[in-house]
């Protein structure tokens, strides 16, 4: 028997599917559980969602804690928080991880407050390590690593004296593990005890727009920033992406300027990407943007300002105006590819 409790992942269900971020967390959770020598659990709440347990097993869960109830059919904070809090109190996991999605960031703090435990938001890395304080050495603690101060610092947070250790984790940062089809585990039914107070919020309607672009799956991303100057300049970004068979990304400045839809935004408040090639056109490279793309295998920066921070992380650079450089690239590529 390990002295530790299990590692748990809250399995977010989005439109009848397990959200990518939850699968990403199962990959990370597997690693953490192996280091601690414990099992990996997933908590699956909903109505007619039990079939998704297979997917959780395939992605590494040893145990799926499942609650099926009509009142859980649609996510609302209070019923989900109540069931999860009750289950954590009973089963005593060591670690509970949530996606830093709108849902995870609504649910996790509510649960943390009820359990009077620590919670770190929007982590970009998780490790098991030691923590020393007041002459006391804590072993095998969850190191919760996250950017703060607008990305200007990276902080490592621990919750040494309380359990469970909890964190929300940024979407797209961890890798989804290869599923092992046919892998099974234990399905544990958990009770649902809700009172009238839990029904304080009622969802009247809900609309979801499909994502306009799948940045996470793209091998090549051509991103435009404020430096492309105007919507016409941004058309060149689209054109280069089309020639390369890549996806179109953008900095927040370009999105705020209305050049392109928010779905294309890369960075701290957008999508985190790590393509084979990231072409940054007219992007200065604010920390918030770099946080979302600096793990790209190769980075090409095109910017008229030679002192732009983007050149600090780029592998290739062209100092020049995108409106002149991009047409040259498009022309040259059309002859090559």
């Amino acid at each position: 028997m390990s002295q530790h409790g299990d590692v748990w992942v809250f399995a977010e269900v989005d439109d009848g599917r397990v959200a990518d971020v939850s699968l990403e967390l199962l990959g990370k959770g597997r690693e953490l559980a192996a280091t601690l020598g414990v099992g990996l659990g997933a908590v699956l709440l909903g109505h007619r969602t039990r079939g998704l347990a297979e997917k959780l097993f395939a992605h590494g869960a040893d145990t799926v804690y499942s609650a099926e109830d009509e009142r859980l059919a649609q996510y609302t904070t209070l019923p989900y928080a109540r069931v999860l809090t009750d289950t954590i109190r009973e089963k005593k996991p060591e670690i509970v991880l949530y996606g830093a999605s709108p849902l995870g960031r609504d649910l996790a703090p509510r649960v943390a407050s009820a359990l009077k435990t620590g919670l770190t938001a929007d982590c970009t890395d998780l490790q098991i390590g030691t923590y020393e304080s007041g002459g006391r050495l804590y072993q095998q603690k969850l190191l919760q690593i996250r950017p703060a101060w607008g990305g200007n610092i990276i902080a490592t947070i621990v919750s040494p004296d309380v359990l469970p250790e909890m964190a929300t984790v940024r979407e797209g940062v961890m890798h989804i593990p290869e599923p092992a089809e046919g892998r099974t585990g234990k399905l544990v039914e958990i009770p649902v005890n809700l009172d009238a107070e839990c029904a304080a919020v009622k969802v009247i309607e809900r609309h979801t727009q499909p994502r306009r672009v799948d940045l996470k799956a793209a091998n090549i991303i051509v991103s435009g920033g404020y430096g492309v100057a105007n919507p016409e300049g941004f058309r060149l970004v689209h054109e280069l992406a089309a020639v390369l068979g890549g996806a179109v990304g953008a900095s927040r400045a370009a999105v705020d300027a209305g050049f392109v839809h928010h779905d294309h935004q890369v960075g701290q408040t957008g999508t985190t990407v790590r393509p084979k090639l990231y072409i940054a056109c007219g992007i200065s490279g604010a920390v918030q943007h770099r946080a979302g793309m600096e793990e790209s295998a190769k980075i090409l920066a095109i910017n008229s300002d030679p002192s732009a921070p983007i050149f600090g992380i780029a592998h290739y650079g062209i100092v020049g105006d995108c409106r002149e450089v991009l047409p040259r690239m498009i022309k040259a590529l059309k002859g090559k590819l």
Partner: protein, 294 residues
């Protein structure tokens, strides 16, 4: 309708200019300006609009060091009816759990019964978005995060649109409830010129202490005068809100910072190409050669 708005003074992390960069490429955090957390201004605006539509009062509450009174005075100038500064050395180093306990304790002991608690979606220093939901839990009330439009109020229930990025939701919530407000909700109004003039002389307890000493007057006398004119920024410490000392500040904070690293630009062996046709062609050939393309 009694509306309590939770606000925070934060370092202006979104405006890191050359002057606050140290030679080693890291940020001199002390040099960042202290500002009204942007989304808390959206929360205040929503509160003021609700008051205009449904009647009532807007009370603004912040926890912070003495200088956080600045954003409370700003709130008065934008139309808040009453402001409260929660400030006590023992509140220092609070994480989100201790902060939510402290503000919830202040609300429960002094501001109940209330109808709505509003706060910004998140603050730009920590970007955690946790204090809102945690305070709602401490208060034992429902929460509606990402509340970007108040559609209706029937006397007991608010109908609210939530902006969840890729999806929108309309929910109905029984009051009291806590709402967190994203920047998409509205455009915050500017301070009003008449109110700026009126609240020029507003003072917090800390300021009164310093000024009374300098003028050789008693603190009570000065506070009394300010109160009479509605210019006193109420200031509460741990005892005023009956706080359990084990749940505030560092002892009430389960999370600890193990380490902080400054983000430094890491050079990636940048290879520069000229911006002309030749340079572009050489670059493309190199990318093809190393199989990044194709």
């Amino acid at each position: 309708m009694r509306i309590v708005v939770l606000v925070k003074q934060v370092p202006d992390t979104k405006n890191v200019t050359g002057e606050v960069m140290k030679p080693d490429g890291t940020v001199n955090r002390g040099a960042l300006a202290a500002i009204f957390n942007p989304e808390d201004l959206n929360a205040l605006e929503m509160g003021l609009e609700m008051k205009e539509r449904f009647g009532g009062e807007v009370i603004v509450l912040t926890m912070g060091p003495p200088r956080a009174a600045e954003i409370l005075k700003d709130s008065l100038c934008r139309g808040a009816d009453r402001v409260i500064l929660l400030s006590d050395r023992r509140f220092a180093a609070s994480d989100t759990l201790a902060t939510s306990y402290t503000v919830a304790q202040a609300i429960t002991t002094h501001l109940a019964p209330y109808d709505v608690v509003l706060c910004g979606r998140q603050a730009i220093d920590g970007d955690t978005a946790q204090v809102g939901p945690q305070a709602a839990e401490k208060l034992g009330i429902a929460q509606v995060t990402y509340a970007d439009r108040i559609l209706d109020f029937d006397g007991t229930k608010l109908t609210i649109r939530r902006d969840l990025g890729r999806s929108q939701e309309v929910v109905e919530v029984r009051l009291p409830a806590l709402l967190t407000v994203p920047k998409t909700a509205n455009s915050p109004r500017w301070p009003n010129a008449r109110l700026l003039l009126k609240y020029r002389r507003a003072r917090s307890a800390f300021e009164v202490e310093a000024e009374a000493k300098a003028q050789g007057r008693s603190v009570d006398e000065v506070v009394g005068g300010l109160r009479q004119r509605g210019l006193f920024v109420e200031t509460w410490g741990a005892e005023d809100i009956g706080a359990d000392l084990a749940r505030i500040g560092i002892s009430g904070s389960p999370t600890k910072v193990k380490k902080v690293e400054n983000v430094v630009l890491t050079g990636a062996n940048l290879k520069l190409f000229p911006a002309d046709d030749h340079g572009v062609r050489d670059l493309i050939n190199e990318l093809i050669d190393e199989r990044t393309f194709g």
